[in-house]
Amino acid sequence: MKFITLQRVIRAGFLGFRRNGWLSTATTMVMTLVLFVLGNVVFVGAFADTALRSLESKIDITVYFTANAQEPQIMAVKNEIEALSDVRHVEYISRDAALARFRERHKENALIVSALEELGDNPLQASINIAAIDPGHYAAISDFLAGKKYPVVEKINYFENQAVIERLSSVMGTVRGSGAILTIILAFIAVLVAFNTIRLAIYTVREEIGIMRLVGASSWFIRGPFLISGVLYGVAATAVVLLVFFPIAWLASPKLAFLVPEFNLFTYFLSNLVQFSLIMLGTGVALGVISSFIAIRRYLNV
């Protein structure tokens, strides 16, 4: 393609975008809607992820040891647990450490402090705290420990939390699964709407496309400006959707932080702005260009 031709194609693309005012506006708006849905999917995903991680971090198994258990025996158990591939983190809390923590936590409570003084002896048990890589693995870890029948182990507290943990991990599985399905369905609908809008826009100029062919224009010379317009729809829609998301993220942020304190939507939005914009731009431009390319194909057959 000659340089002058490329120049003309680009100029015609911009001109077409400007001259077909309401059609460009309508297409850009539909595309904005698509990106808005996509943006929300990204946000909801990030929120759900933080929420789930926050919940997951609250799950653990605690193994309590008998009062006369010796440190080397406890260490032997700890080493075996650490060797398990499902285990992310193991923390040993000695009897003294447990007492220190207990004191620290209740230092304002004079009654408890004086009761401890009176007791003289340390009433607390040594324990090992286990965090799994995947919350679905707690049952297996717990079963493994129970099966070992360590004489020094007095109690595995997973059995107490078992019902809660199992329900939580099944809820998490469902949330992730349905989130993915919902994302796919929404994205599919959005893409379909955007594609049909562009198809309609090109349908209205099908006769002109035929005329251009008959007076000697090559397919690329005709197709090019529509692809450029497709790029412009994507760029304009990205600009609009970013402008819309700023106030939304700002307003929704405190409400979401109320549900999950670790999640700050506005900070998340700002710190991922470049990535987020690139996702929007990439999706918008790809959608605009591919839709235009497919939609114009049949009308070029002149």
Binding site: K2, I211, M212, L214, G216, A217, S218, S219, L300
Partner: protein, 226 residues
């Protein structure tokens, strides 16, 4: 040279718009196609431009088999053929000047060439003062003259005129016929489909008569009385 070799076009079953036409047109010839409405004049021109595909037969333009070209090759041939369509086929969102310029842009002409040639050719058809009008701001005859200007502007090897004077008064018709003759003298093959007896009889050139898709007469210095 243009050569139709036993060409037929059947749009729908059992009625042929063009039937077994074999026709040879030499370079720089001026040929009139005449015949009643529905005789197949437009169809014959459409086949040469590949606006329609022939059902049977082969069409050559200077030894190139037009019927064998792929869609991606067609524009090369179309740039060598200027066409004045019976229904004008102007681009509604472009002004008269832009419509003419489009044919040049599509052919890859430079901006300088376009700036020079477009006003010149519009002046030639008497539309210098209507350059910036959109088609809906032009009369039927004016649209027709824009179509003529567009067909001429790339200095094509072949000019196809499908009733190019159909909407013009006798003064304008005379002007356009003179213009076509001049183009022809400068070396362009002209094929003119028309009903207009006046035009044919003043031309004093080859006349081919079509009837129901078939060539019924072909006279080197023909007149038309029907």
């Amino acid at each position: 040279m243009i050569f139709f070799d036993n060409v037929s076009k059947i749009y729908s079953h059992n009625s042929a718009a063009v039937r077994n036409v074999t026709l040879r047109i030499e370079p720089k010839e001026f040929v009139s196609l005449v015949g009643a409405s529905g005789a197949g004049k437009t169809t014959l021109l459409k086949l040469l431009l590949r606006e329609e595909d022939s059902t049977e037969g082969t069409i050559f333009l200077d030894g190139l088999d037009v019927t064998a070209l792929t869609r991606d090759e067609l524009h090369h041939v179309r740039r060598r053929i200027g066409t004045v369509f019976q229904d004008y086929k102007l681009l509604p969102t472009k002004t008269a000047a832009e419509n003419v310029a489009f044919a040049m842009e599509a052919a890859g002409r430079t901006d300088a060439e376009i700036d020079e040639d477009v006003p010149q050719v519009l002046d030639l058809v008497g539309l210098a003062d209507k350059m910036d009008n959109f088609p809906h701001q032009l009369s039927g005859g004016e649209k027709q003259r824009v179509a003529i200007a567009r067909a001429l502007v790339n200095r094509p090897d072949v000019l196809l005129g499908d009733e190019p004077t159909g909407n013009l008064d006798s003064v304008n018709t005379g002007e356009i016929v003179k213009l076509l003759k001049k183009i022809n003298q400068l070396g362009t093959t002209v094929i003119l489909a028309t009903h207009d007896k006046q035009v044919i009889n003043t031309l004093d050139k080859r006349v081919i008569v079509l009837d129901q898709g078939e060539i019924v007469s072909d006279n080197a210095k023909g007149t038309y009385q029907a």
